[in-house]
């Protein structure tokens, strides 16, 4: 380092140690611990060490539908958010001109309102006496307030999409910024319609950002247990809720750990699928 050469992680690997220690101690360690625990058993509320696949068998046997539901709603929320985020980022990039900085700051401004504040805001909007229902009833469009607006999967989707949108806009805007405008002009010049130019000259170059945005939204959704409880109603149970109850009320940490690992595996599979699908669809012919 004293020779003035730029830092190199290869040569000055010791610089990585603090960060590596934090990651190892607070993330990798606990994760490995729960991986081991997921093969343990519980007997009379006590954890019994051993190697037992019973927890996994139980999750597959009894929790298949909630896992599928969690993956499905996660896929829906992440897809909708990513598509909306791309549209917003693209608009800011192409039409924002000198206001692009302000528009971007405005999207980030929503992050100042915390997660729970947003949930409560949506409850106010969607509730039985909420603004939406009052308006609909007042206008005579429906005779009685629609109960299903709140305490339903629809509410979960609305809340999470609105919450996640800024997180998804950021990586996409960054990716768009690195694209030279003249490559789009070139596509148009060579005969591409405006839509074809986006498909051929813009989207393929956003694949890493699209996957990042999707994964971010998907993982937050797949691990969420607050939103479904607050606005999802009693019938919208996601894996997060089941895992939480195993770690909490039911005191069955091994089963909770097995649920966690199966959810993680399924999540990785969904993200890998989306990544491959995007790469295949957007590959230049």
């Amino acid at each position: 380092m004293s020779d003035g050469a730029p830092l190199s992680l290869k040569r000055d690997g010791a610089l990585l140690l603090p960060a590596a220690a934090v990651l190892a101690g607070l993330f990798i360690g606990p994760m490995l611990y729960f991986l081991v625990v997921s093969f343990f058993k519980v007997s009379l509320f006590k954890i019994v060490p051993g190697f037992d696949l019973g927890n996994y068998a139980k999750v597959v046997g009894s929790y298949g539908p909630p896992i599928l539901f969690t993956m499905g709603i996660g896929f829906l929320i992440a897809s909708v958010t990513t598509v909306l985020a791309f549209i917003v980022a693209h608009l800011i990039w192409t039409r924002g001109r000198r206001f692009s900085g302000i528009l971007l700051a405005a999207t980030l401004l929503t992050l100042f309102g915390g997660y729970l504040v947003k949930i409560y805001a949506w409850r106010t909007l969607l509730g039985r006496d909420g603004i939406v229902n009052n308006t609909l009833v007042g206008l005579g469009i429906v005779r009685e307030p629609i109960e299903a607006l709140l305490y339903s999967p629809v509410a979960v989707v609305l809340v999470l999409v609105s919450y996640l949108l800024p997180f998804a806009i950021l990586p996409l805007y960054g990716a768009l910024r690195s694209i030279e405008e003249k490559t789009i002009e070139a596509a148009r010049d060579l005969g591409a319609s405006p839509w074809a130019a986006v498909r051929d000259a813009v989207l393929p170059r956003c694949v890493p950002a699209l996957v990042t945005a999707f994964a971010l939204c998907f993982l937050v959704t797949a691990g969420d247990y607050v939103t479904p409880r607050m606005v999802g109603g009693t019938r919208t149970m996601m894996m997060g809720n089941f895992i939480e109850s195993q770690f909490g009320l039911r005191m069955n940490v091994p089963l909770g750990a097995a649920m966690t690992y199966l959810t993680i595996t399924a999540s990785i599979a969904v993200i890998a699928f989306v990544w491959l699908a995007l790469k295949t669809v957007l590959r230049p012919k």
Partner: protein, 346 residues
């Protein structure tokens, strides 16, 4: 050449708010023309080219290509193709995919796309790079690919935006030669934008000189250089000596020297002469116009010797000669032929 022009611009203009980037202009050019739009940066030349390509919407006027009004057509519907400044290649596509893109978009059968891409890569001598990605290529190689990608569409008009600006001198000369060869080989109508007058002279059959959004002069390189119509053109396309003169009743006279006929409005004018057309010493004796003067500076330029001469009326003249052993302080006759002079308003 007197046939119907291929491209006709009628009163074409572009304004941004109150700022006129391009003043209304009329311009015709024909099939086979190699047209240079020449001017300093900010003169509106690129805006004009982008209007031709469909990337900038004109504020006024019309663009006709082959008799068809294309003024409001988007780029993809125009019979033009562009080589962009900085090339604008698709970085995620191979060279083959880049060159074939336009044909694929048009729904050309696979076999034909492949064959035409192969031919086009051979034409620009880039066959060996077909499966590379643009970032792996040098500037000159990317330039060839950008050319191939546009030419494969067989455009009625090929537009080139400062095509050689990013290349170093040697490579630029090679690419200029290449472009000339391509134009000779495949024909077609090329329009390129440049701020380099030497490049315009070298390549173009017709030069449009622009300044501050206005067309100053349109003509062959010879006309532009030897018969500039404005003061700006005189100095932009080469070095020029000027003598203050006055025109009255279609006769231009330089006080205490000579006079000649030249039609035009009355008023102050400048008589221009190129330095290499100026004769010194004995050679000046046979010239139509003569002054006496004193050499004030001699600069050896290799192929030429450049003299600065102070004329008897106090004005300074530059003369470029093939050889000469005059020294500062020498008294000398300065002369030039009528055919080598031109008159512009200051």
């Amino acid at each position: 050449m007197n046939a119907e022009p291929l491209v006709r611009l009628q009163g074409l203009a572009k304004s941004y708010g109150i700022y006129r980037a391009v003043h209304p202009l009329d311009l015709d050019f024909h099939e086979g023309d190699f047209l240079a739009i020449l001017g300093p940066s900010g003169c509106g030349k690129t805006t004009l080219l982008k209007m031709l390509g469909g990337f900038v919407e004109p504020s006024e006027g019309a663009i006709l290509i082959g008799g068809r009004d294309v003024t409001r057509l988007p780029p993809e519907k125009r019979p033009t193709n562009m080589v962009f400044q900085g090339y604008g290649l698709f970085p995620h596509m191979t060279i083959r995919q880049n060159v074939g893109y336009g044909l694929r978009i048009a729904g050309t059968p696979r076999a034909e796309v492949d064959a035409r891409v192969r031919d086009m890569l051979a034409l620009v001598q880039m066959e060996a790079f077909a499966d590379k990605l643009p970032p792996q290529l040098s500037g000159g190689q990317q330039q060839r690919i950008a050319l191939a990608r546009a030419l494969i569409m067989r455009p009625k008009v090929l537009l080139l935006d400062e095509p050689f600006a990013a290349l170093d001198l040697k490579l630029r000369q090679a690419m200029q030669e290449e472009l000339r060869r391509l134009h000779a080989e495949i024909g077609g109508t090329f329009v390129f934008v440049t701020h380099d007058q030497a490049e315009a002279m070298l390549l173009a059959t017709k030069v449009v000189v622009m300044s501050r959004g206005k067309v100053e002069q349109v003509g062959t390189p010879e006309e532009i250089y030897l018969r500039p119509k404005t003061h700006f053109v005189s100095t932009f396309v080469g070095e020029a000596n000027f003598l203050k003169a006055c025109r009255r009743l279609a006769r231009v006279s330089i006080e205490g020297a000579f006079a000649f006929d030249d039609a035009g409005p009355d008023g102050d004018v400048l008589v221009g002469v190129r330095p290499e057309k100026v004769r010194l010493g004995a050679a000046a004796a046979r010239c139509d116009h003569r002054f006496s003067g004193t050499v004030t500076q001699r600069i050896f330029l290799g192929a030429q010797v450049q003299y600065t001469v102070r004329l008897q009326n106090g004005e300074t003249f530059i003369a470029c000669l093939q050889e000469g052993d005059l020294l500062p302080g020498d008294s000398i006759d300065v002369g030039w032929m009528s055919a080598d002079q031109w008159v512009v308003t200051p």
